[in-house]
């Protein structure tokens, strides 16, 4: 550096440092952008297929270490369609020698410094972080193969959770426009092949066209016609309702499109679309302000990891805002929650119908448990806000588990609790397997010091929602 330059830098003081930073080399481009493939599909596929048993064994070992994955149904409690039992009990494993009450009595920094946060409370890794992408459960893969002859099976990974810990399939469908009919799904999974027959007479032409678009497959990062795919044959892609089965969820998962680099992208569990009519912000991180915005752009985000450059190569779908997007939104906006006969018009329990345990649970929910601060009963148990639970108070950030780097979650959208028993696993990444797990998680994170009776009452209450 010349002395003249040095003098001028000194004169500028800290402002000069800012300009030096701007002049620095950027970080490597694949921290943000998806690289181009470097191998022929046949070679990549052979390696992926050979790796698959080890990939699945590693994930299974991680899950077994974190959770009790046993089939332990709650006696007499089924999901809304009556096809699957709700699973009972806390499934997150405690660190050796610890109790839930003992942990709840510790300061967050103690739990962090002594590495005592139950691993099941940590962000949950995708089955293969380096590849990421949408992973469908077997029930969905088999149903779409049968109904459409379309292949949703990846050659590199399978879904990783036991069937007993995922939602009933296919989920029932409730319409705001026809409460008197109850479930209109006929026990079938909506697909491009059967939707017209099932819904004709129930919905308007505009809604029908929206539904058709929501069921039409479009190219996606792992399901497309290029060499950069994870499905054996060139694929026509995926449809919105491949994850949001019957407008609910099948526990298909993905990586968030909203974070880079790849190692830090957290897992996303598919959210139900029930009650969309009352939801004002969309996307766990994006806070898009309308379901129209979300429907229009989702095929660049979930479908292509938020990478419009990659989408351009594989065939993006750019729906027409005025016509197609509006119709997709109108269809989504008539999807109702499952009936909750014990709730009054304000979302509060009717004392004449509710059990003692449910009423006690509601009192805890509204009071000591602090649940209702965000999950407001009067507004479908949402608050249209994002909140930061600051879980990183309890663990050391930057730990790597199965190639996934756990950084703080930051603010995440409040999800509704209506119909919550239907949609395990819980939290935005599906890290909690049962409602009892969610109670222990929030009891620790919010420092509410609930006793066992209060915890049990909260579970009983949530089953009534």
């Amino acid at each position: 550096m010349t002395s003249a330059l040095r003098t001028s830098l000194l004169a500028l003081g800290t402002a000069s440092l800012a300009s030096l930073v701007l002049a620095a080399d950027p970080l490597p481009p694949d921290l943000t952008y998806r690289p181009l493939p470097t191998q022929p599909l046949s070679k990549a596929r052979a390696m992926d297929e050979a790796q698959k048993p080890a990939v699945m064994a590693r994930q299974r070992a991680m899950l077994e270490a974190r959770y009790d994955l046993a089939d332990r149904p709650m006696p007499g409690v089924a999901m809304s369609g009556g096809r699957k039992a709700v699973q009972a009990g806390v499934r997150v494993r405690l660190p050796e020698g610890q109790t839930w009450d003992g942990l709840a009595a510790l300061a967050p920094t103690d739990i962090r410094d002594r590495d005592l946060l139950p691993a099941g409370f940590m962000p949950l890794p995708h089955v293969k972080q380096t590849a990421g992408g949408q992973v469908f459960p077997n029930v969905q893969i088999e149903a779409i193969a049968r109904l459409e002859g379309r292949d949703l099976r990846r050659f590199d990974v399978d879904h990783d959770l036991p069937d007993t810990l995922t939602p009933e399939f296919p989920p029932p469908i409730f319409l705001t426009t026809h409460p008197e009919l109850g479930d209109v799904s006929r026990g079938q999974l909506l697909s491009i092949g059967n939707f017209y027959e099932i819904m004709n007479g129930l919905i308007t032409p505009v809604q029908m066209e929206g539904l058709r678009l929501l069921l039409t497959p479009f190219p996606q990062e792992e399901f497309n016609q290029t060499e950069d795919r994870k499905v054996a044959l060139p694929s026509t892609g995926v449809a919105c309702l491949d994850c949001h089965s019957n407008f609910s969820t099948n526990a298909a998962f993905h990586l968030t499109p909203d974070v880079r680099p790849q190692a830090e992208r957290f897992r996303l569990d598919t959210v139900s679309l029930r009650g969309m009519f009352n939801q004002q912000i969309h996307g766990s991180k994006r806070s898009l302000r309308s379901v129209e915005d979300f429907s229009e752009f989702e095929q660049h985000t979930a479908y292509f990891n938020g990478d419009q450059v990659s989408a351009a190569r594989k065939g993006p779908h750019l729906p027409d805002r005025t016509n197609q997007v509006a119709m997709m939104a109108q269809m989504q906006n008539i999807i109702d929650f499952p009936p909750a006969p014990k709730l009054d018009p304000f979302g509060r329990l009717d004392p004449a119908l509710a059990s003692e345990a449910e009423l006690k649970g509601e009192a805890v929910f509204l009071g000591k448990g602090r649940c209702a601060t965000c999950h407001v009963p009067e507004t479908s148990f949402m608050d249209q806000q994002m909140h930061d639970l600051k879980l990183e108070r309890f663990y050391k950030v930057g730990q790597t588990v199965n190639d996934f780097v756990a950084i703080p979650d930051g603010p995440i959208k409040t999800f509704t609790l209506r119909g919550i028993k239907d949609t395990p696993p819980y939290l935005h990444d599906g890290r909690l397997m049962t409602l009892a797990d969610t109670v222990e998680f929030f009891n620790l994170v919010l420092g509410t010091h609930l006793d066992q009776e209060e915890k049990d009452a909260l579970v009983a209450y949530m089953l009534a929602l």
Binding site: M1, R6, L9, L10, G13, T14, S16, L17, L20, V21, D25, L27, P28, D30, L31, P35, P37, T38, Q39, P40, L41, K43, A44, A46, M47, D48, E49, A50, Q51, K52, A54, A61, M62, A65, R66, P95, R112, D113, R114, D115, L116, A119, M122, K128, Q129, T130, A131, E227, P261, Q262, A263, K396, V397, G398, Q399, T400, V401, N402, D403, V405
Partner: protein
Amino acid sequence: MRSSPTCSRSEPHPARRLGLAGAAWLALVPLPAAAQMGNPGFMAPDTRSDAKGMPATDQTNPDDVLFVTLVGAGGLAEVELAALARDKAASAAVKAFAERMAREHGAANDKLAAAAKDAGLAVPDAPDAEHATLRDTLKGMDAAAFDLAYMRAQLVDHQKTAQLLAWEIDSGQNAGLQRFAAATLPAVLDHLAVARGIVEALSLADVAGEPPPQPRP
């Protein structure tokens, strides 16, 4: 790094039983048990793999090479700038931070050099142009102005290093380098957290005439 035993997070870490706390935890963050499996679609066509499709853990890819270059140069700069800060810093908190950077980045540089050598790569022997310019600029500054400029630069450097370490964990191929990245990332994020606190206090002192910050207990 390559010879150190690793464990998964699910297993009780030996250190947990020892009841270690405080700054010692940085050394105890559990490491991944093995190298990542990678996305074969993005691997070089000459990638060697075993019968189970696992890429050989001793080979490198271009991202490994770039990682060693960028993080190696950054690590050298950390130590060099820390030496400067130990001489010039006015605030006790900045001096303590610089001591820690010299100690921990010095140790990390040794580990990176060892992992790079095992991978057949060499770490840079001098900081890059960006850091050389920064060093020259800082040399001409004193007292509170130096403290603030050094710490603000540290903040950006640690942000960038954290991104590079996370990048190597998914994009690299060499197991030793990836273990180095995974082991180092929590410490770098802790440095960043401390640096953010110091910058906040220094900035406040700068604009409001507050007393300079003291070292964290």
